[in-house]
């Protein structure tokens, strides 16, 4: 069992109270940085894809997990990021400027949408964001001179100070670029959550009346969360565009919105780490199912590949199982396992049973 002796308020303000947590994070980043020397190009591309999904997942986590608002329209902000970045680069802007501008554009658009939308909640907000998605999709198709319309658009090769970050020719460079961006965003996100802005997000999520009584401007806070969420998602969209290379509006379908919602829910709502675990699961699941299917075919001679739609069914079943049996998500499961080991063999069976909480009535007393 570990005990942290806290000797200063900074112990709580800093990211990790245990030095070994810090060690593991650094080790993870080092291994990630060395990955291009370890794995083949095929897997490196997969990991880059997972990183991009994690980034988009972090964007949505901020909104859904930390501010308690739903969005079914985040594909639209991925699209805005991707198109802005590609269009600006096609117009001759360097990546180092086009990329942050793409994030900013998605963020500003998100904040603008948010001002009327955040007065809605639950299912109404979900429908409003869905409507935004439909509108953005139409605009993309109509704005042909910029977006290439139905045909689509090439994302030019990224060059920074003469160095090429082409997704095919220089995959390692592209991967490192994604890694650096993800690390920076994760740092910023973690900083946000340990300061008063992040606390105001949590306050708005858990009790709106209380938040108001504490002087938190709920509408402004929600709009800010929406804007930041869309900005991060826009950055992910820009990288996604470069990763795919050539894309049209179909890349940013409603399914990607739903996949992102699954990333944050399965990963664990309210945990930054959850965005990563969810992204890993969602991007790896089709592969895992394929491997299992092939294995079954080879050993038992059962050819499940001939049944259409089976992959999707298995995928959905796993998701449903998760949502029913582990609502805290993968990260919640991990936390429980860690506690179990730390206090081994003292864990009791009912330790993690969900506690009944006191009812809150609708009346504001």
């Amino acid at each position: 069992m570990r005990i942290a002796f806290k000797t200063s308020y900074d112990t709580d303000i800093d990211f990790h109270e245990h030095w070994n947590n810090r060690f593991w994070i650094i080790a993870l980043v080092v291994v990630m940085a060395l990955l291009p020397f370890i794995v083949s190009e095929y897997y490196l591309a997969e990991v880059a894809n997972t990183l991009i999904f994690s980034l988009a997942g972090m964007g949505l986590m901020l909104l859904v997990g930390h501010t308690g608002q739903v969005s079914l329209g985040h594909a639209a902000f991925l699209a805005i990021g991707a198109y802005t970045d590609a269009a600006l680069m096609n117009a001759g802007w360097p990546f180092l400027i086009a990329f942050p501008v793409a994030g900013l554009a998605a963020g500003l658009f998100g904040a603008l949408i948010a001002i009327p939308a955040v007065r809605l909640s639950g299912i109404y907000l979900a429908i409003a964001t869905l409507a935004v998605f439909v509108i953005v999709e139409e605009i993309i198709i109509l704005a042909e001179p910029i977006t290439g319309g139905v045909g689509g658009l090439f994302a030019p090769t990224i060059e920074i100070f003469g160095l090429s970050f082409d997704r095919y020719a220089n995959l390692s460079n592209f991967y490192w670029l994604c890694l650096v961006i993800v690390v920076l965003v994760t740092l910023g996100y973690s900083n946000l959550m340990r300061s008063s802005t992040g606390r105001s997000f949590l306050a708005v999520r858990d009790s709106e009346v209380s938040a108001r009584a504490l002087g938190i401007d709920v509408t402004r806070t929600r709009a800010l969360a929406f804007g930041l969420s869309c900005a991060v998602t826009g950055l992910a969209g820009a990288l996604m565009g470069h990763f795919i290379g050539f894309f049209n509006y179909e890349l940013f379908s409603i399914f990607i919105s739903i996949n992102l919602l699954l990333v944050v829910t399965i990963g664990g709502l309210g945990f930054i780490q959850g965005a990563f675990l969810g992204a890993i699961l969602i991007t790896a699941m089709p592969q895992i199912i394929a491997i299992l299917r092939d294995g079954l075919n080879a050993t038992a001679g059962i050819d499940l590949g001939s049944i259409p739609g089976l992959d999707t069914i298995i995928f959905s079943l796993i998701l449903i199982t998760f949502i029913i049996y582990e609502p805290a998500g993968l990260y919640g499961r991990w936390l429980k396992m860690r506690v179990w080991w730390e206090i081994f063999p003292l864990a009791r069976r009912d330790m993690f049973r969900r506690q009944k909480s006191y009812l809150k009535t609708e009346r504001q007393k």
Binding site: T197, S210, L214, I216
Partner: protein, 258 residues
């Protein structure tokens, strides 16, 4: 000098006259209690002060500022903190985080500075923490600092909510039934805290409470209300012996006459 002044305040929900023409003044440094039977309109008066509801008529001024039309989030920065009858804590955060959220009105950093976690942000975090630790010490919450609200017993939650209000460093604190659901020892403790708030922290306290023992022990003046109308105003002893008040509590026919 009066710190809070309510003049002929009223709010009607459709046909329900929840509050209907109540006036009172709370002096600086005073402990002022509002009593009345269930559904009398006590919590509604609190909700009018914290601008959750908009009044049908009347006027409320605090410290010389007219707050009748203020947006609800602009009330706290003036120095008004409150608790809720049904406990409105942030359930999925720790006690420490909840108390830190009470410091919101004292933040001076913006979100960009927070994302970059500039040295200024760290300095401010330390300052918030220092203030919160004072509250933790005052309310003896040390053992619960890192605990999630969702798993805490009812009594502790009530105390945490008082702590969150205190962390704001307000001039006026509104306590909606601080002792309801507490054991005899716990409500005694609440009485001591209210005394200390007034004496050591220089706070003005406006409270709603059913427990007449607690009210008599701490309140300087009491306002009794029933059916949204004022019944009596005076010292705890005066109000308790008022025939209208006794009638309202016992439910004799005189209730309608009041």
């Amino acid at each position: 000098m009066s710190l809070l002044k309510a003049e002929d305040i009223a709010v009607h929900f459709g046909g329900v006259k929840a509050v209907d023409g109540v006036s009172f003044e709370v002096d600086e440094g005073e402990v002022f209690a509002i009593i009345g039977p269930n559904g009398a309109g006590k919590s509604t008066i609190f909700n009018l002060i914290s601008r959750i509801y908009t009044m049908t008529r009347g006027k409320i001024t605090f410290d010389g500022t007219d707050i009748t039309r203020l947006p609800s989030h602009k009330v706290a920065p003036l120095g008004i903190a409150r608790t809720f009858q049904n406990i409105e804590l942030f359930d999925h955060s720790t006690v420490l985080q909840n108390l830190l959220m009470g410091r919101h009105t004292h933040r001076s950093t913006n979100f960009v500075e927070d994302i970059l976690f500039l040295p200024k942000v760290r300095r401010e975090e330390r300052e918030h923490r220092k203030r919160v630790e004072e509250v933790i010490e005052f309310l003896e919450l040390e053992a619960y600092r890192g605990k999630m609200i969702a798993g805490l017993p009812y009594g502790v939650r009530k105390v945490v909510e008082i702590g969150r209000a205190l962390a704001m460093g307000p001039k006026l604190i509104l306590l909606d039934e601080p002792a309801s659901g507490l054991s005899v020892e716990e409500s005694q403790e609440v009485a001591f805290w209210i005394e200390d708030m007034r004496r050591d922290m220089g706070l003005t306290v406006l409270m709603v409470e059913h427990d007449m023992k607690l009210v008599s022990a701490v309140a300087d003046r009491v306002l009794a209300v029933n059916n949204g109308r004022p019944l009596a105003l005076g010292t705890p002893a005066e109000v308790q012996s008022d025939p209208h008040v006794q009638a309202a509590y016992l439910g004799t026919p005189e209730e309608d006459a009041a």
